[in-house]
């Protein structure tokens, strides 16, 4: 037992002494958690997203209740005011100077959109109030085709598209307000809407709760994929293993110690990522339940076996790292850790369906109640177990424990 514990300790200490190991196993998953959470958790919530938008009213300001152009401008002004101190407003508005030629302003700001310096230009047409009044006063419903606020945007620019989409919602809200004010639309008869979340979810899932299990599994995956073949092949190449074999240490005991060290590394990884997710970003997923713990353990063991599988395929440490590098990206991104993987072409779907990460991430998220789950429980457990079996079989037949003489 002492030998096993010593090997586990050696494995852990070696991993933590390597600065590069520390980066890839600990800092990179933490970096990814921070970056993706900061980017996506604020999406659509305001406070961190900011679009530069130009707005120009081409008509004269008439004032009064029928100055709808002024109403539109005021709504945009509100969107350009931070919702609370210290937060960013949704829009940074650019307006023409009082004596500036409006056509020249539009031309300049259109160029800014094309250059990517501005998300959109909103132009309220010169006869906007008049046309709108005519539409409202007309028989029956108004005619929206003549009351269009022009939005210049760049469809290739995702920021511009998002800003336009928000502008569309704002205009839709103003439309309802105008129709309600003029008695065309009865807000009392408005069709009620509600939101239902599938599965056990009671509300919208915070992004960090979705991401954290994926990042933890990614950490385990990277540890197995790079750490295991790295440690085994370098130890073999530098004849460290040979020295072990002249001691009373047997291969099974070495393996037990190595596996214990690997699981320990995963525990440390989990601890750091969980602390970061919980206390920096308010993650509320509860890992302290039997099912998530079993899935995490299954993940750790699956990638340990997978690491041995890689080690058994490579003759040198560099070859092992090359194989790991090649497998890393497709497996990571086609495992549903960060993006949904439905609707892929057949070739990529094959990778998705044979990828243990797909089942582990699905099972872990399902057990945490953050996802309804695509696969059945036996699949999410059975496929990783099958991988463990295949990897152990291949590794036990192919892996050489000493350098060839």
């Amino acid at each position: 037992m002492k030998g096993i514990l010593l090997i586990a300790r050696v494995h852990l200490i070696t991993a933590f002494r390597e600065r590069v190991t520390l980066f890839w196993f600990l800092l990179f998953p933490m970096f990814l958690l921070v970056v993706l959470t900061l980017i996506f958790s604020g999406l659509g919530n305001g406070g961190s997203t900011n679009f530069s938008v130009a707005i120009v009213n081409m008509g004269p300001s008439t004032g009064g209740a029928t100055d709808f152009a002024a109403l539109v401008e005021s709504v945009f002004d509100r969107a350009a005011t931070p919702s609370e101190p210290g937060k960013e407003p949704l829009f940074s508005l650019v307006k023409p100077a009082p004596d500036e030629d409006k056509d020249a302003f539009i031309e300049r700001e259109q160029k800014a959109v094309r250059l990517g310096n501005l998300a959109a230009v909103v132009v309220i047409p010169p006869d906007f109030n008049q046309q709108l009044m005519q539409s409202i006063a007309g028989t029956g419903a108004g005619d929206a085709s003549v009351n269009k606020i022009v939005v210049y945007q760049d469809e290739a620019n995702a920021g511009s598209q998002m800003a336009t989409s928000i502008i569309k919602q704002i205009i839709s809200g103003i439309d309802r307000e105008i129709l309600a004010r003029t008695g065309k639309f009865d807000e009392q008869k408005d069709i009620p809407t509600d939101t239902i979340w599938i599965g056990n979810a009671s509300g919208e899932l915070p992004y960090v709760d979705f991401l954290l299990p994926g990042i933890i599994l990614m950490g385990f995956f990277v540890t197995g994929l790079f750490g295991v073949p790295g440690a085994i092949l370098f130890a073999r190449d530098r004849q460290i293993l040979r020295r072990y074999w002249v001691t009373p240490l047997t291969t099974p005991r070495y393996l037990a110690g190595f596996a214990l060290g690997h699981v320990g590394l995963c525990v440390v990884q989990f601890f750091f990522l969980y602390i970061l997710g919980r206390f920096a970003f308010g993650a509320s997923v509860n890992f302290a339940q039997p099912a998530p713990i079993l899935f995490l353990l299954l993940g750790s063991v699956t990638f340990l076996a997978f690491g041995f599988f890689i080690a058994s395929l490579a003759k040198t440490p560099n070859a092992g790292m090359a194989i790991a590098n090649i497998l890393n990206m497709p497996m990571m991104f086609l495992g549903g850790l960060f993006f949904p993987v439905g609707g892929l072409p057949l070739v990529l779907r094959i990778i998705v369906f044979i990828n243990p990460l797909t089942y582990l991430s699905d099972g872990l998220r399902m057990s945490l109640g953050v996802e309804a789950g695509t696969f059945s429980l036996p699949m999410t457990v059975g496929v990783p177990l099958a991988w463990i079996l295949v990897c152990v079989l291949v590794a036990s037949r192919r892996l050489k424990w000493d350098v060839e003489r």
Partner: protein, 356 residues
């Protein structure tokens, strides 16, 4: 000149024999394009969402379906009940669902689709608002007229991402080429042997740079053509600007790579630092996510990264976005100057005998 030719030949053979470098230079950018392309919907059109509709028996859904059809980017599939709809959503056959019982509209989302739900909720909000008006036989009096004023060909999100990935692959190839290669030569004592010959260090650097430039250029072309063929994209490339920029960007990146080679001894450390730097830059340089959705301090970091400007200039050279020519040349010349300053200057300290 003869020694230069010999060095060129040696470099070429080294690169061609180095399978790992070939895989990373040629296969990885293509993998990035394909994986992200299909994940983000590059093959089917990223803007189409699939909505599942459940209508209670005896209730008319004609107006609602008309409103959904008016959105223009939604495919509708009908389900007999909520359970079947939720199953389809669980299998990701449907993006979000709508229940209409004649009195109330319920929108159903999958909480696991956290990155997409923002878009689905926006679509649902638009459907709800339009249906409310139509239900009272009222038409909107106000709408927006979207006018695309960007480049004509660049109407797909992926048009923007592909040049970003090209810029990223140039950066990583440049960083790895010099840092990994020179430190590997150092470790194998090849530099010690070469510098006792009449070869001038600058010749070695020129040979490395020439071969790597050619490899990077071919790799970007291959990636671009595969993106065009597989994702059916159009790029009105300005080949002159493209060629000049790829050369400048690769050269500039080699300069940054030389700085890494100066800092470390082992090729594995150099590769790791290059890997770490390029990975960090990839996430912060606005290649996959628009910078507008990043917090302000991350936007500031992004503006300090060379990859941000490389991606910007590459988008211009591939005809995706506009840019003033002055800005394009400023970025290009900036990269050349970085290469000129860092590459030969620092390389003097890298290409020298290892006294240890």
């Amino acid at each position: 000149m003869r020694s230069f030719k010999a060095l060129l030949h040696a470099e070429l053979m080294t690169v061609l024999r180095d399978k790992a470098t070939l895989v990373f230079t040629f296969i990885f950018p293509v993998l990035f394009i394909l994986i992200f392309g299909f994940l983000m919907g590059g093959d089917t059109g990223a803007q189409t969402a699939h909505v599942g509709l459940v209508v209670s028996s005896g209730v008319s859904s004609e107006a609602l379906e008309q409103v959904i059809a008016d959105v223009g980017t939604l495919d509708v599939a009908h389900y007999a009940d909520q359970t079947l709809l939720e199953d389809a959503m669980g299998d990701q056959k449907v993006d979000f669902g709508i229940l209409w019982d004649g009195n109330k509209l319920s929108f159903i989302y999958d909480p696991g689709r956290v990155q997409d739900n923002y878009t689905f909720q926006e679509l649902a909000q638009g459907i709800g608002a339009a249906f409310s008006l139509r239900y009272q036989d009222v038409s909107p009096v106000l709408s927006i007229d979207k006018i695309h004023i960007g480049k004509a060909a660049a109407t797909d999100w992926f048009n923007l991402v592909v040049p970003g990935i090209l810029a990223f692959s140039i950066l990583s190839a440049g960083l790895f080429a010099i840092s990994g290669h020179l430190t590997a030569m150092k470790e194998r004592k090849l530099l010690d042997r070469l510098i006792v010959t009449p070869m001038r260090p600058v010749m070695l650097l020129a040979a490395i740079a020439s071969i790597r430039l050619a490899i990077v250029y071919i790799s970007t072309l291959l990636t671009l053509f595969i993106a065009i063929a597989v994702l059916h994209l159009t790029f009105p490339v300005n080949w002159f600007l493209y060629t000049v920029f790829v050369a400048a960007a690769a050269f500039g990146s080699m300069g940054f790579g030389t700085a890494i080679a100066l800092l470390v001894r082992r090729p594995s450390s150099a590769s790791n630092i290059a890997n770490i730097l390029s990975m960090v830059m990839m996430f912060l340089a606005g290649i996959y996510f628009p910078m507008e959705i990043m917090p302000s301090y991350m936007r500031m970091i992004s503006k300090g990264l060379p990859l941000t400007y490389m991606a910007e200039a590459m988008r211009f050279a591939t005809g995706v976005t506009d840019m003033s020519l002055a800005r394009f040349w400023a970025i290009t010349i900036g990269l050349v100057v970085s290469g000129l300053v860092l590459f030969p200057f620092l390389a003097r300290y890298v290409v020298r005998a290892d006294r240890n």
